[in-house]
Assembly symmetry: C2
Homo-oligomer: 354 residues x 2
């Protein structure tokens, strides 16, 4: 299949630093190529990919100091539209910005929503351009927008070898992510103290969360059980995650997916996750971790996690959360989309072709 992947321009693909969406697009693109597909990636010019790269901007916009990405995205989408006739499938990762200009090609367009959908801001686009087919990254993500037109849910996946299985694990608990109220690092700290176990916190503090960190979290860091090690890079993740007894994921917001859960699983480290957002779709309770609703349950889960076979956690990752599985799921959706709309699509494509 001739497939175009259309990425946001905030970060390169893969991102220099953070950028969950760009990492997923990178993994998906490589996995589609491994499956033999012909993939073109529309992304920032400093991206590194096995696909044909069409630069939508010189470099990732965030590090270039561009705050409003809309103009750059519209310019890139104009190029995608010019070249749309070359592709069987246009797979967008830019929310809804392409809806007005690609609605006549809806039969070969798929749009993965990467963000939370529990705010009313996007609804007018889903209502007005209802012919555009969407993909959710968890079933839970769809909850607030039942009227939106979803073609399916595709859970994220990551390359099988990215994070190696760590058979031994370690004795400490781990927390990784942003220090922000919805990630609930305070809950993680309380769980560790109540369990009497060491907790390592690998987390960045965004400027927006500086006040929260200072008032709510910093005062808790004096406890000798708690070690705040700050931000870590991708290279440090395997050791950090693999060396833990369990990852604490006590979130308090509708997390659309939660990549760190499957990163921990890849390392063989069970996840103790609040039953919230996507977690019940990712974690198999008693196999790859525990779904809990209270601090008491979490403390009990910390003890139980020591007895969970790490090989079973890794097996749960390999069965459901590899990039290869993600790519095959998307190909199945692409095929269904093209099959269902084939006559209409080819008619419309011909109009677009030069």
């Amino acid at each position: 299949m001739r497939i175009a992947q259309i990425a946001p321009l905030a970060e390169a693909v893969p991102p220099r630093l953070y950028g969950g969406t760009e990492r997923v697009i990178w993994w998906l693109t490589e996995a589609l190529i491994d499956l033999g597909h012909d993939v073109t990636l529309y992304a920032s010019g400093d991206s590194a990919t096995s696909a044909r790269l069409v630069p939508g901007a010189e470099t990732g916009l965030r590090l270039a100091g561009i705050n409003d990405h809309t103009a750059s995205l519209l310019a890139m989408l104009d190029r995608v539209l010019d070249e749309a006739g070359r592709y069987d499938i246009l797979h967008f990762h830019v929310d809804f910005l392409h809806f007005p200009t690609f609605r006549h090609l809806a039969g070969k367009c798929l749009t993965t929503l990467h963000g939370r959908q529990d705010l009313p801001d996007f609804l007018p686009a889903f209502r007005t351009f209802s012919e555009m087919r969407l993909v959710s990254v968890s079933d839970d993500q769809r909850g607030p927008i039942p009227e939106a037109q979803f073609a399916g849910t595709v859970h994220h996946g990551l390359p099988r070898e990215l994070i190696p299985f760590d058979e031994k694990g370690g004795d400490d608990l781990a927390f990784i992510g942003r220090i922000s109220p919805e990630k609930r690092p305070d809950r993680a700290i309380e769980i560790a103290r109540r369990a009497g176990m060491r907790l390592k916190i690998a987390a960045k503090v965004d400027r927006a969360d500086a006040a929260y960190f200072a008032s709510e979290i910093e005062p808790l860091l004096g406890d000798p059980l708690i070690e705040f090690i700050g931000e870590i890079g991708d290279a440090d993740k395997p050791a950090f995650l693999g060396g833990a007894r369990a990852l604490l994921f006590p979130i308090d917001w509708p997390e659309p997916f939660g990549l760190v859960m499957i990163e921990a699983m890849a390392a063989g480290t069970p996840v103790i996750a609040w039953n919230c957002g996507s977690t019940r779709e990712v974690i198999e309770h008693g196999r790859s971790g525990f779904l809990i609703d209270s601090i008491d349950d979490a403390v009990a889960a910390v003890a139980a996690a020591g007895h969970l076979p790490r090989a079973g956690v890794r097996a749960a990752f390999e069965a459901r959360f590899t990039a290869d599985r993600m790519a095959r799921d998307y190909v199945a959706l692409y095929e269904r989309l093209i099959g269902a709309d084939k006559p209409a699509m080819f008619g419309k494509t011909l109009i677009m072709a030069d």
Copy 2:
């Protein structure tokens, strides 16, 4: 002429509280109707207008708690596109979001840029959709984007009777606006102290500027010459501006227009403006105020302002900054646009018509 005005959805037209763009659109719409034109206004549903109102959202989005306005705007623009055949002119005030879907109607589209253009964020849209004709609100606003396609500059105007002429004026200096580093309230305070005159500051403090206010401005407010009266509403503006000897406008950013300057002029109050951004296009040095480059010059201008005939300031307003003049300028641009592109336009319009 059948004219569509397409407003942003952040605030109602006119706005409940702040919103310079929405106020200008309101005045323009009413003035076009006074000139006998058939005007349709696409704006939030709680707008109040003599035009036919097509609601793009139930209420202004900011007060409705919607942070990302893009989806609502795209949905409204889709309706504008459906109805485009009804109009001779489509006049947009939503930056560039309509460019991709209206480029085939460029011959009857005009877009007023209301914001600063000295950041590179918007450039890709002006380059990619270069057939879309723009209007600047000052010549200075165009400086950073010489490659953009401007049809003309139209300075803002306000209704002749909105702010009555105050023959007497007063003894104090006035500052009005936001407390923010680029508005330089610190300069205003220094000018007043050096001149030994009272200064009344009518200004709101946005959350983003709270730290600046606390560290830079609040410590200066102890001086008995300085009176900080906080935020004032539109109803209080005529008395506030009319009762001043001069308005201080010591800005330090490329202000695209600066409505408060012409509000002061309408009251007969001269403006002492830093020579920066649009100010030299608005203020006639020695007639409606003074253009200055230093605190020393500003202190001298404060003394001179007391001798400037207030009737001359009002006359400068009436000659160049009424809503009627603004509407006539826009109609001239509309006519030039339609005339220049007439054959192409009607051809393209017919394709759009049902």
